[in-house]
Symmetry: C2
């Protein structure tokens, strides 16, 4: 993997990631851009025990632009996008970031602090009409290497406690740009859902291994190979939810071996294609990497990927209404065993 | 308030609630209905620490029927709905319940138990085209009395640990029936978001009172009267979020005095109308009553209502994407102070 960092017109960093043999990356960002906005503000709710990022500047972010004005396509003579030239995979700091290093000390008071951290956009492919599921395994492997490199780099940034690579896919899930892309957040705290797992691991440090061995012998496995098992968890919250567990304890993406990285790509592609085959429709989904926090539980937390869809049937979505959004209790209308069966039956078995 | 309980054709209970002077409620449910489905199954995720209700029968529930076939309108000679005759306010057991008493003992094993409890539908008005905001104060007062009566009744049911009256409003939030209605859940456990508050109250039993007194002197108050204050919380997670606090500690709706009930109706109507006036559009919202659990924290938990919208601007919704859904961390694109100002400015001041 070759990386080529450049600076965008407003000072933000952009990095091209390439395979051996790819052409050198050149070109300058010639746009006139205003300076990036200041960091968001974090506010703590002691009763809920969570931080909220108030990022009012994000109201102005680019919203479903026409494909001729896609900010994630390579720039053309007609339209100068966020990426000055051709690319294979590229990451850059979000122009409307939820977290950044442009903090000011003005508003430090109890329960309020600046949204220090990092928010990056990652384009998986220059093909505007493509999708992650249509990448070839070699490009998925490159994407995984980029996640590893950015996890390492962001873990070293001041204040970052959790690095979170993710993809939101589909307008139904609120994606404002249709070009295939993901994001990477560097949170300046451990998010509640990870903290909850850490708490549990304190009393049961081997929980991930135990869960994997139980699931491997279960009817909810969707696909597996030597290094990974993809299964629908027994208490799935979403109609279609698949967790990808590596077969050994390791804290984060950088810790994956060459073999584990090679093995991930085809398995993930297989399950993504099952998602789209399910209803013969591009399935809206969230793909979320759960990594160990930068400074905690490195020996007990196990890296894994959670992939879930909000579609429960053609024309029907799972919404987070009062029970989920206010009480935190999920009602799942599809049984996990049925979801696993439907995903297994959607395509020929993975080999 | 007068209540008239009857049985529906499949044995479910329906209760008419009326004001003095309303006609007697009669009429029989003459439909042929299959027996109601068995209870859902609860599954526990030890790492997340939450129960999920797997309710596969709900996939078949009525989905956006034409208004001539609304199951919540009073029955007519042409269409027999869930409600046999005319009504003012009515509650009945959900035909596709997330929780019920139709449990079987088949599947009891570690981390799995039957979805014992209760799920009721509540029609606020027979007017199919109406909305809660268009009720008059007298009918809101009746609705509040019904919430109180059902909270008392459901609190006494075996296994129910938390009674949760709520309204989901708007297709954007997943409402499958447009007739103005809410629901009441009787959960057989304390939901995670309430449990989190209980945990905090252990170390700070006066937290609710402290928060109220701080918010009362703050720029985030939207409307208030002698018994209630409606404010946008400092760490709001949603673009437009208003909490309604009573001015004294009390555990649940039944504990409200006559005066507090009378005072709630106009205040709540005022804020609901501000919601709709904000963008001159019916705002999709969730209204969620946080009550003390049936058997815990009755002296420290304070009843309150949380009202929040997923609309952040005309044509733009707040989606729960990866940060919210996977990590539990909210990014709010509207500052709480700005939201309060917008709501105050949407209509003349509340008096």
């Amino acid at each position: 993997m070759r990386s080529t960092p450049i600076q965008l017109a407003d000072g933000r960093e952009l990095i091209y990631f390439d395979l051996p043999g790819d052409p050198p990356r050149q070109g300058e960002d010639t746009r006139e851009l205003p300076p990036p906005p200041p960091a968001s503000e974090l506010r703590f709710d002691p009763m809920r025990g969570d931080w909220v990022a108030v990022a009012a500047h994000r109201q102005e972010r680019t919203f479903q632009p026409p494909s001729t004005h896609c900010p994630l396509c390579p720039s053309t003579p007609e339209f100068r996008s966020e990426v000055p030239g051709p690319y294979r995979v590229v990451t850059f700091e979000n122009r409307f970031p939820s977290f950044s290093d442009r903090t000011s000390e003005n508003r430090i008071m109890p329960g309020i602090r600046p949204g220090e951290g990092r928010a990056e956009v990652m384009c998986f492919t220059p093909d505007h009409e493509g999708s992650f599921a249509e990448l070839d395994a070699r490009d998925v492997r490159l994407v995984l290497d980029v996640w590893a490199a950015r996890t390492e780099a962001m873990s070293a940034l001041p204040g970052v406690e959790q690095v979170f690579p993710f993809e939101n896919r589909g307008e139904e899930i609120g994606v404002t740009l249709s070009h295939p892309h993901g994001q990477i957040y560097g949170y300046p705290f451990i998010p509640p859902n990870v903290r909850q797992i850490l708490l549990y691991l304190e009393s049961d440090p081997g929980a991930f291994g135990y869960r994997l061995s139980r699931e491997q012998s279960d009817e909810r496995v969707v696909a597996a190979n030597e290094h990974w098992t993809a299964f629908v968890p027994r208490a799935a919250r979403w109609p279609f939810e698949v967790h990808f567990y590596p077969h050994r304890q390791l804290p984060d993406i950088p810790a994956l071996t060459e073999e584990e990285r090679d093995a991930f790509a085809p398995l993930y592609l297989d399950v993504l294609r099952r998602f789209d085959a399910l209803f013969d429709l591009p399935l809206p989904y969230i793909a979320a990497w759960f990594q160990a926090p930068v400074n905690q539980a490195r020996e007990t937390f196990r890296l894994h990927l959670q992939l879930f869809s909000i579609r429960r049937a053609p024309g029907k979505l799972k919404y987070l209404a009062a029970s989920e959004s206010a009480m935190g209790t999920f009602i799942n209308d599809v049984s996990p065993e049925q979801a696993a069966r439907m995903l297994r039956d959607a395509l020929p078995p993975f080999t």
